[in-house]
Symmetry: C2
Amino acid sequence: MSHTPGVRQAQKQKTRQALLDAALQLLAEQSLSSLGLREVTRAVGVAPTAFYRHFRDTADLGVALVEEALNSLHTALTALLAATGERAGDDDGEERIAATVELIAAYVRAHPAHVRFIAREQHGGVQPVRAAIRGQLALFAQEVKEQFAREPEAAGWAEDDLLMLAGMYVDHMVMTASALMEAEGDPEAAARVTVTARRQLRLVSLGRRHWLDERPATP
Amino acid sequence: MSHTPGVRQAQKQKTRQALLDAALQLLAEQSLSSLGLREVTRAVGVAPTAFYRHFRDTADLGVALVEEALNSLHTALTALLAATGERAGDDDGEERIAATVELIAAYVRAHPAHVRFIAREQHGGVQPVRAAIRGQLALFAQEVKEQFAREPEAAGWAEDDLLMLAGMYVDHMVMTASALMEAEGDPEAAARVTVTARRQLRLVSLGRRHWLDERPATP
DNA sequence: AAACTCGGAGAACAGTTGTTAACTGCATGG
DNA sequence: CCATGCAGTTAACAACTGTTCTCCGAGTTT
């Protein structure tokens, strides 16, 4: 077993991941700004001082969690853009909307803790974490915008307006995911959230379709 | 001075308010779940045990803060509904939108700490506080819906759809207020947020206007 | 096979936390 | 005017926090 490079590094990343997992679990019932270093190490079963080998702060841990969470969300977003992109213009958008909401719901079912963390810390008490989330979500909006720009409905749209629209979709996605997670365990409430989310997307879609009516240029 | 009823009660509410104010200030750089009882009393200048005369918990303090914050927001909302209600249908809605965003901006300038608190604890780590905020915002949406129902544009709308629309406006208001607060001190960023908020409202307004096009009933 | 690296353990530190108990003094109601 | 109520104080408690320093032992390098 010895003299095989990588064993040490693998062990290190293993406990690092254990710290991240334990923290994410503890953050179900509190905010990052109240998460204690000792609390996390105790949950993992390592000495408090071991924490410093991986993170400077709990804030640093938080930034790492942002990357982990929004990486998984990015995977879901890519799937969503691919799935809805191929049926652009097929129908009045109703199927597209239903598919979008269903994909969000599936993501929430798969990663509820990540959704909770992002929703909570997006406006939370730790500045670096807020900044990290904002930056990643801006990147998402950029990707959505580029997908929109590829579609025929985007003809005549200003870049700014496309980005605004993409931002609305991203924000709406996060809010819907958060609402769905809060309704976990109550299928009726979850159904209500789903129906509302679909109607909201329909409203935005209608606005999008008439954006250029009698409007040669945006003021 | 003695035998004058109310002196004692007035003093009590005075320190109670001092506790609330100090807590709100401390919550600028942390979340409620990490706010310590001693921290608050120290900032006010009273003994830690005095806290218990007013609140059971810091969570209890948080619920009181929700009521205070959303009471001031309710005043602003009423003013906004009155101001925009009287010019319903006057123009294409552009002035109405600008007035709405300006009123939100004015509110943020007047009560930034309240806005920060609501945005932060809406998805925060303290369940009773989350529930209190959700309940109050639902009441706001109800009021907005009733205002909408009074306007001629609402003819033919289902109750559910009107509430959905009102909810979108309330959510958008909170998000815009939060974004404006985060941009405090940077006039350029604040201007960007304002412009984006106006465009988003315009998009929703367009969707609203075409909601009933070729749609006899909502599925 | 010896030298080195480095993730983790252990103990100790000064400070902080929430909560309890018994108290003080003043506004209050009879 | 006196007895009661009650906001706020003082002191003490066990428990917990983040951080430092020293040390160990197994993976890694030469």
